[in-house]
């Protein structure tokens, strides 16, 4: 882990083949093993793509506008996840973000 104060990202790993996952999986996509264990990685990330959702579905009414981004997270090993970015920063692909928390199944990052 890095020396900065961002939270570790709660990745998971296949016990049998070591494949690394960001979003949790029920079985390993590579070897079909169901033995998956927590494997926290560094919480630093890079924006791959981002959007601002301004017309949400019924389940997210009132939260708009909110930022959703595809983020590559990790240091030596990275995983790609879809996450919310807190606040409404003007981010572009390549911008750095850090992991904050996982709440109700959603990963939250913030701009650096």
């Amino acid at each position: 882990m890095s020396e900065t104060d961002e939270a570790a990202f709660p990745a998971s790993r296949c016990v049998e083949c070591s494949a690394l996952y960001g979003h949790s999986v029920y079985a390993c996509r590579e070897c079909s093993s169901e033995s998956i264990e927590p494997s926290p990685i560094d919480g630093v990330g890079t924006v791959y793509a981002r959007t601002t959702v301004r017309v949400p579905g019924a389940d997210h009414q009132g939260a708009e506008p909110f930022e959703v981004a595809v983020v590559d997270v990790g240091d030596e090993e990275t995983v790609r996840v879809t996450a919310r970015i807190t606040g409404n920063p003007k981010l572009e692909p390549g911008d750095p973000v850090v992991f904050l928390e996982r709440r109700e199944g959603t990963f939250y990052f913030e701009a650096v």
Binding site: R54, A58, V70, R80
Partner: protein, 387 residues
């Protein structure tokens, strides 16, 4: 394997019809049956594509409901669902059942009723095609998925917002003369780039409208099809594949692999390449989608699609007309009906009687896409002159 042709076609207009899926399905199938010399007892099976009737209308078991209502009894009637590709899949399954010799004559249809629901309700219903356990939780919508795609595309290829808006301008212009289209008025580039923001960088006029509609075809083994119609449309190739089920699953979000693999499959079966296609109806659920699709289908090099549309190369009188019907952006997107609606438009082109006729069109392609690029069907059709 047997060759297969389309003997009959039928459709409703797409738009605000104040009609449920039962009515739309009955009308589309009845029109297809009456368009050719098929008798009810010739029909061996029915496949029906639908996506959100359960969520929005509380109506399921639609395939047997429609089959019974149009007098097709005692045959298998099966619903197919693959989000916005639901009726592309219905067509594909009908085609496969004839090709492999299981059936001789099959009806394929697609139906959807959406406009009686509010925007938030149908946005949630359509969002059910996202992976609810991961991406759905973030609140990412389908415009949001294509907002992500366009954000990355503009970053990688330097496309401008104005170039992307040219898709909406072209398709809305094409829709003016199509009586089946929901939108019959033009928009300008300025209208598009100044319209309300929906999912950055996408704005309102980058997004297709919801619609109600139904479309149907009668498929028959070649040899039988000629007894049912004077102008059978040949199914030269059909591909149906699976891609990535969420944005984070892509290594390259600007290429939807379901489309590239379905296209490879359809081209290979037809024995043609993208350069042989004369007219295209592709899945322009958003302006950005048409640009990506036009590259994924092999018509333009990666990163060239935005420039091509802005230069007019895909207009009705361009080198490769794309969405002369107006596409989803003008016709509207009755999600479960769209795939066969596209095939209806291509059949009309290949018979030479389309409102935006592409001169000399002999080979047409229809491309249907569902979910986050999760599923795609590509159909290559040949005109009656090729028989």
């Amino acid at each position: 394997m047997r060759s297969v042709s389309i003997a009959g076609t039928g459709t409703t207009a797409f738009g605000e019809l104040d009609a449920g899926v039962k009515e739309l399905g009955i009308k589309a199938v009845s029109r297809a049956l009456r368009s050719c010399d098929v008798r009810r007892d010739d029909v061996d099976a029915l496949y029906l594509g639908n996506f959100v009737a359960g969520a929005l209308e509380g109506q399921e078991a639609i395939a047997p409901l429609v089959a019974d209502s149009v007098g097709l009894t005692g045959i298998p009637a099966t619903k197919t669902e693959g989000a916005c590709a639901s009726s592309g899949i219905a067509f594909r399954e009908a085609y496969q059942s004839i090709r492999t010799g299981v059936h001789d004559v099959v009806v394929a249809t697609g139906v959807e009723s959406m406009t009686n629901a509010g925007t938030a309700e149908f946005t949630r219903a359509l969002g059910s095609a996202a992976d609810q356990g991961t991406e759905g939780e973030t609140g990412l919508t389908f415009p949001g998925f294509y907002g992500l795609l366009l954000d990355r595309y503009m970053h990688e290829y330097g496309a401008t917002r104005e170039q992307v808006a040219a898709v909406s301008v072209k398709n809305r212009r094409n829709g003016v003369s199509n009586p089946r289209a929901r939108f019959r008025s033009e928009v300008t580039v300025e209208d598009v780039v100044e319209s309300r923001r929906v999912a950055d960088p996408l704005r309102l006029y980058d997004c297709c409208p919801a619609a109600d509609g139904g479309a149907a075809v009668v498929l028959a083994a070649s040899g039988i099809a000629e007894e049912l119609t004077d102008a059978p449309i040949q199914v030269l190739g059909s591909g149906h594949t699976t891609g990535r089920s969420a944005a984070y699953r892509y290594d390259d979000l600007t290429t939807l692999e379901a489309t590239t693999t379905a296209a490879e499959s359809a081209y290979s079966q037809a024995g043609i390449g993208p350069e042989d296609v004369d007219v295209v109806e592709l899945h322009d659920c958003f302006s950005a989608a048409e640009i990506g699709d036009s590259e994924d289908l092999g018509f333009f090099e990666k990163g060239e699609g935005a420039k091509a549309v802005a230069e007019g190369r895909t207009a009705v009188d361009g080198e490769l007309p794309i969405n002369p019907s107006g596409g989803l952006l003008a016709k509207g997107h009755p999600v479960g009906a769209t795939g066969i609606g596209q095939i209806y438009e291509i059949c009309k082109q290949l018979r030479g009687d389309h409102e935006n006729q592409v001169e000399g069109a002999e080979i047409g392609l229809a491309h249907n896409l569902g979910g986050s690029g999760a599923v795609s069907t590509v159909t290559v059709l040949g005109g009656p002159s090729d028989v």
